[in-house]
Each structure stands twice: as C-alpha cells, then as structure tokens.
C-alpha cells in the first residue's frame, strides 16, 4: 500500500470514529422527543389529540363554527410570531388577510370595507391594542363575538364602513 493510501485509511478511521461520536450525540439529542413519542403512543394521545392541547387550535376550531367558509376575515398580528399562519391553516379555505397590530384605524377600516371582510380577529399580546384595534372596539360597525380563547373576535358590518377614508 502506498503511503498516500495509508494516510487516507487513517483519515477514514478518524472520520468513522467521529461519526460514532456523532451517532451517540444524536441519540442524546433526539432522546427526549423519542420519549415523548413513546409516551403519547402508550396513552393513545396522537394525531388530533396533540392539536387539542393548543389553546390557539381550540380557539380556531370554535371560530370555524362562526365564520362561514366563503367569508373573509382580517387577522391582526405580527407575522414573525408564527401564530397567524397557524390560524390561516386551521381556518382554510376562508379568505385570510393579515395586517399588523399597530395599523391605523383608517387603513384597517378601508381594508375591511374593500375586502368585504366579515370578521376581525385580534390575537392577544402583551402590548396594548393598536389604534386600529381600539377604534374597532369603539365603532358600531363591530360586534364583539364572545368566544373564549387567545384573542378578540368581532363580527364586521362592512357596509357601515363604506364612507371612505378616515385619517
């Protein structure tokens, strides 16, 4: 065997050794998740039961009974929070319009009117309500729907918002 090949064999052994350590680390890394999987399997808490553990899912499931499939709704939230995409997923195929929580009242009302949105959803957050959400709470065009969950729900009468710009 040439010295070059000997070298490469040693390199291969080094790589295999490192890989062995890597496999042990993977077992340690995925251990807790595998444990959770095993526990759920034993208890039969899989599939839909996992979703039921989420308050956001339970809220969305209740919303499904309130918002018709053909209706559109506006959702006020930060995209980066990752909650909006979940609600959109649960409520599909209802038309979904995302707007930021600090949206001014004029633009919020304009979008609601233009898109003929029938509902306004505001996900609860630690921050105070933005100007648009505050205006919605005070406007007769919005009727609060009493649905317990991590957010506020308003039924919107888009016709009452039909008088143009507000700001």
């Amino acid at each position: 065997m040439t010295p070059r090949k000997t070298w490469r064999f040693w390199l291969v052994r080094l790589v295999i050794g490192l890989w062995g350590l890597q496999v042990l680390w993977l077992i340690w890394h995925f251990g807790p998740e595998a444990g959770d999987l095993a526990r759920r399997l034993v208890r039969g808490e899989v599939g839909g039961a996992i979703r039921q553990e989420e308050p956001l899912y339970r809220w969305a499931a209740a919303l499904k009974t309130v918002i018709p499939e053909q209706a559109a709704y506006v959702f006020l939230d930060d995209y980066a929070a990752g909650k909006e995409i979940q609600v959109r997923y649960y409520l599909a195929p209802r038309r979904h319009i995302l707007l930021p929580p600090d949206i001014p009242a004029g633009f919020l009302f304009y979008v609601l009117h233009r898109e003929r949105a029938a509902f306004l959803l505001i996900r609860e957050s630690a921050r105070p309500l933005g100007p648009g959400a505050q205006a919605a709470c005070a406007s007769p065009a919005f009727r609060r729907v009493n649905l317990p969950g991590p957010g506020l729900v308003f039924r919107v009468d888009a016709d009452l918002l039909g008088w143009g710009f507000y700001d």
Partner: protein, 474 residues
C-alpha cells in the same frame, strides 16, 4: 380501530398507485427496465409517478375540471395499465415476476447488521414521528400544508383565498391533496408519511448509485447510514413536511444518473430518467430550476473539459434532460402567467458585497457544524480531493457541488434583507439549501471511498453495459 385500519389501507393504496404509475412510466422511458436494480427502480418509480400525477392535476385545473379521486388517478392508471399491456410492458412484468421468484436471500455480515440496525432505529423513530403528529413546522403550515388543504376543499388549484407564495411550484401540495382524496379527508398527520418515504427513497437511491459506482454493498450501506445519521437536518426533514427532501431526492437522481452517463456506466434509458428527475426538481421547489440548470451546466463543462470521443454529439444529447427541465418548469410558469399570479420579484434588486462576505462565514460554519450535517462535509473535504478529479468524470459532481456552494454565497449577496435580519434569514434557509446538495456530496464521497479499494473481492456488482469509458448511450 377499524377506521384507522381503513385509513391506513387507503393511504397504502394511494401510495401504491403512485408507485404503479412510475413503474409503468419506466416502461415508456427505458428500453429495458430490468437493467436498473430493484432499488433504483423503486426509488425512481415513486419520483416519476409523483411528477406525472401532479402535472396531470395541473392539466385538470387548466381544463377547469374539479378534482375528484377518480379524475385524478383514473386516467393515469388507465394509461399505466395500457403501457403494461404493450409488448415491452408484458416482457418487463414477466421478467420482474421471474426475478422476484428467483431472488436470492440477502446475506448480512458483521457491519451490515450495524448499519441496518442504525437505519432501522432511525425510521422506527421518524415514521411514527411523521404519521402521528400534526403538521407544525413553519413552511409546512404556511405554504405546503395550507395549499394542500385549500386545494382539497376547493377541488382545484384555488389560489385566491391565500397569499402563501402562490407562485411556488406545487408538486408537494398536489401530492398531499391527492393523498387527502385517497384518504377521503384532510388528515395531515397520516399524509405526512410521504416525507419519511422521500427520505427512505433518497437512501435507497444513494445506496444503489454507490453500488453502481463501484462500492461494495457493505460500504455503500455504511455510506447510506453515514448520510442518514449525520447531524440533525436530514433526520428532522423526515417529518416536518418541507419540500426540501423531495428536491434532494430529485437532485440526487439527476446528478447520479448524469454522472453514470458521463462515466459510460449508465444503463440505456438513463438520460430520459434523468430528465424526469430534472422535471421533478423544477416542479417541486422554487430553487429547483436553477439547481437543475447547474446540473446541466456542470455536465456540459465536464464534457468540454475532458473532451471524450464524440463529445460534441454528447453535448447535444444533454438536450434530453434539458427537455425534462422544461417539462417540469414551463407548465407551471405558463399557468402562473395565465392566472397573473404575482411572482416574488423582490428577490433580486441589488448586490450586497458585505452580505456575501458574511455568507462565506455562515456557509463554512454550517458545513462543519455537527448539529447540521455532522462530519459528512468535512469527510468529503478530507477524502474527496485528489489529482484524478481533473481527469475523470467525477469532475461533474465536484463542479455541481462546488458551483452550488458558490451560488449559495452569491444568492445571499443578492438577498434584500436588513443588516439586523440577515443572520436570521441565513439561519432559516442555509441548512435547507445545503440539504439539496448533501446526498450528491455523499455520492462524491462514494467515489473517494472507491479509490481506497478499487477492486473489492467477493462482491456482486450490478450488470454494467459494455462500452468505452465515455459511452454515448441515451
């Protein structure tokens, strides 16, 4: 209990139909399907079937025909059955049945048990993890899964009610939609089994290609386990319902078949199959078409650099995979134009050199980070180099992998993000971009391992077509 069993049966029948379509498709594409090993045909059947079925669903949408299970699967199955009734189809089925009956028992020795054990443990975890947990990862919820449930509810490619990267290609959402029809309901946890399936097919294909490239079966199995159990990225993608694993599958198929073709070791029909893989690349992810184009570019550069006999004619033969790329790319592109869907034009605005410099650091960190890909990329760097690289068709794989690493850096140089957002943007995308290349990197590693033992004894290699090193068969 009965409901679960019925759902599982419907799922298996649905998946079986995709395999069947691909199996029949191979009869159309390949003169002698028996030249490909069982592993190669299993993997490529599913890939081909998925491409064909989802493109058919796009055709249905174009014709304004609402989806039903019968309309989705009926005509393709009838076509597949028709192909099996042709003389070539009948001969292939006869040969396959004979081969199945006379199939020798697989003999396992020492290390084989270890590698099979590791792979078995991986799938014992990943398969239930995929099938028993609902869709939860970001892109799965925001894009692929959301589209699938809307397509199912609206019985077509309805993109009016969401803004979920509507211009992205739709192989994955349409495949999930088809499975929802097969299941008779939106069951996003059960339909997720296609992701460990894609992962398994990547491994089967890698093993088969490594054996064909000359590695012993044990070493090829070791290499397969080495890819599967190195870092967390591959494992996580077995159950998070992203399109990156299918793209990695098609990339491996395209790169592997083109590499064999360049080496003159490809069975007849490899180029049409590579074309199918390139179609799959273009149709399954937005990054697919440029990635597929780099495969063709690397193949053309390899031919131009090495100048084997009849190399100009062989350059011309690359039109076959190019047609595959066009088949996967153009129908969706035309649909997007017809529907006036907005395309993410903000992706390219300017070149930001400081981001490129940062991207180099991020890229090298990701390549050596044990959390991401373990020791696979360092192993390739240590063992892959060699003078023979510039004199052999393996240059193709090296050009493809190296060129795409450079392209990743360039792409980050073009990304329109703020300085504060840039590290998060890289974190969210880099591991996936590298996942598309990693199985091909493993294939390159296979060639390096072959150098250590060019003539393994006592191993049966699959039949190779006779011919010069640079054979010109399609």
């Amino acid at each position: 209990m009965i409901e679960t069993a019925a759902a599982l049966l419907r799922l298996l029948l649905g998946l079986g139909a995709v395999f069947f379509l691909g199996y029949a498709g191979l009869i159309l594409l390949v003169p002698r399907p028996g030249d490909f090993t069982f592993g190669e045909r299993t993997a490529l059947s599913f890939g081909t079937g998925a491409v064909f079925l989802t493109l058919w669903m796009l055709v249905l949408t174009w014709w304004g025909i609402p989806f039903t299970l019968g309309r989705i699967i009926g005509p393709p199955l009838a076509l597949g059955a028709g192909l099996l009734l042709t003389p070539r189809g009948r001969r292939t089925v006869r040969e396959d049945l004979r081969a199945l009956k006379g199939r020798p028992r697989m003999e396992l020795h020492g290390w084989d048990w270890v590698f099979w054990g590791l792979l078995g443990a991986l799938f014992l975890y990943a398969l239930p993890r995929a099938a028993l947990y609902p869709v939860w990862a970001w892109d799965a919820v925001a894009t692929w899964g959301c589209k699938a449930s809307i397509f199912y509810a609206s019985r077509g490619l309805d993109l009016t009610c969401i803004e979920a990267h509507n211009y992205y290609p739709n192989l994955i959402p349409l495949l999930l939609t088809y499975l929802y029809f097969a299941l008779g309901q939106v069951n996003d946890s059960l339909a997720k089994v296609i992701f460990p399936l894609w992962g398994g097919l990547v491994l089967i294909l890698l093993h088969a290609l490594a054996v064909r490239l000359g590695l012993s079966r044990t070493r090829a199995l070791g290499l397969t386990a080495f890819l599967a159990l190195n870092g967390t990225v591959f494992i996580t993608h077995l159950y998070i319902a992203y399109a990156d694993l299918p793209l990695a599958f098609f990339t491996l198929g395209g790169a592997g078949l083109l590499s064999l073709w360049l080496s003159g070791a490809a069975p007849p029909g490899s180029l049409p199959l590579a074309a199918c893989c390139l179609a799959g690349m273009a149709w399954c992810k937005y990054e697919g078409p440029p990635l597929a184009a780099t495969l063709l570019l690397a193949a053309a550069l390899t031919l131009a650099w090495l100048r084997p006999g009849r190399w100009v004619r062989r350059l011309g033969l690359l039109a076959v995979p190019l047609m595959g790329l066009a088949t996967g790319y153009l129908p969706w592109r035309l649909f997007v134009m017809q529907q006036k869907l907005e395309i993410g034009a903000d992706h390219i605005q300017n070149l930001y050199p400081h981001q490129m410099v940062q991207a180099v650091g991020h890229l090298f960190t990701a390549l050596i980070n044990p959390f991401a890909f373990g020791v696979l990329w360092p192993a390739l760097a240590l063992l892959g180099a060699g003078r023979s690289l510039w004199r052999s068709p393996r240059l193709f794989l090296a050009l493809f992998v190296g060129g795409n690493l450079a392209a990743v850096i360039l792409a980050y140089g073009l990304a329109p993000t703020s300085a504060a957002e840039f590290p998060a943007y890289v974190r969210a995308t880099l591991d996936r971009l590298l996942l598309h290349l990693t199985p091909v990197a493993a294939l390159l590693l296979a060639l390096s391992l072959k150098d250590l033992d060019p003539a393994p004894t006592g191993e049966k290699l699959p039949p190779k077509p006779s011919g010069p090193v640079f054979g010109g068969e399609v």
